[in-house]
């Protein structure tokens, strides 16, 4: 798992700096009477023949104050064993 975490770390920085924004979209959500706007940007970069995605989510209150905008990513890998 450490190797996977290290790979993720390396790739996230790379995708954020070198990746292209493929698409962007907004949603609005109201929680406890406060309306929040979510702005999404999908970054993509080809690494070793595979296109990796990174989503940047920016959350704003109704008056435009930014709350938080983390980078998020989910990656996958097969679990295999070799039968001899």
């Amino acid at each position: 798992m450490l190797r996977q975490a290290e790979e993720t770390l390396k790739n996230v920085d790379l995708i954020a700096s070198e990746g292209k924004v493929l698409s962007g979209w907004n949603t609005i959500s109201t929680v406890n009477g406060t309306t929040y706007t979510y702005v999404y940007r999908d970054y993509a970069l080809e690494i070793n023949g595979t296109t990796r995605h990174l989503i940047k989510v920016s959350v704003y209150t109704s008056n435009g104050t930014p709350i938080i905008d983390p980078y998020i990513q989910i990656i996958n890998a097969p679990l295999v064993y070799w039968a001899w």
């Binding site: 798992m1 975490a5 990656i75």
Partner: protein, 188 residues
């Protein structure tokens, strides 16, 4: 042989956002008496799901996972805050520009093996020097109920369909089959 899939879910807060994250975590974890108050601060999958409208819920299932590690809710909240606090202090000293990172490993065992009979998840904080800090236990392994696994798979499938994981499950399975066939041919 392909016997399952491993997923790594990652949320990275910048140094500026880390202050908001820590303030919210402290407020929610102190005196927390339900699993849902804890989940967004330790589970990258729950935190990610919280940012997308219309996705299958991940949160309530966390209770089923946490209940299996033998700790009460208050103990878990306390240990979670201690872990967050420790890693934040380390990061602040080691590399103030790093921010704060949640990392969750989901080991989905489709065909159980003797060395891994059940799916499990691990809740981790990644330190600025790359070290994986397991929360609660030294290995961080939390075995999952079938309902918990189903919930995670439903969310990840939704995420893959809407955002993309980079590698489609079917294309990876084909690649594995090709490799296995090739090695069998060489051997025999």
């Amino acid at each position: 042989m392909l016997y399952g899939w491993e997923y790594g879910a990652y949320t990275h807060y910048t140094p500026t956002e880390t202050s908001s994250f820590l303030a919210a975590a402290h407020a929610r974890l102190e005196g927390a008496d339900d699993f849902m108050a804890i989940a967004p601060y330790i589970s990258a999958l729950v935190s990610i799901a919280g940012y997308f409208a219309g996705c299958p819920a991940v949160g309530p299932i966390t209770a089923l996972i946490l209940a299996r590690i033998g700790l009460g809710v208050k103990q878990i909240a306390q240990k979670t805050w201690e872990a967050i606090n420790y890693v934040n202090m380390f990061n602040a000293k080691d590399d103030p520009s790093f921010g704060f990172m949640l990392y969750q490993n989901f080991h989905w065992v489709v065909n159980p093996q003797w060395w891994v009979p059940q799916s499990y998840t691990q809740f981790c904080l990644i330190q600025s020097n790359g070290v994986v800090y397991h929360v609660w236990t030294t290995t961080g392994v939390c075995y999952m109920t079938a309902n918990a696994v189903n919930s995670y798979v439903a969310f990840i499938t939704w995420y893959n369909n809407h955002m993309g994981l980079g590698v489609g499950i079917s294309s990876l399975a084909k690649a594995i089959r090709r490799k296995f066939t090739l090695s069998s041919m060489i051997k025999f």
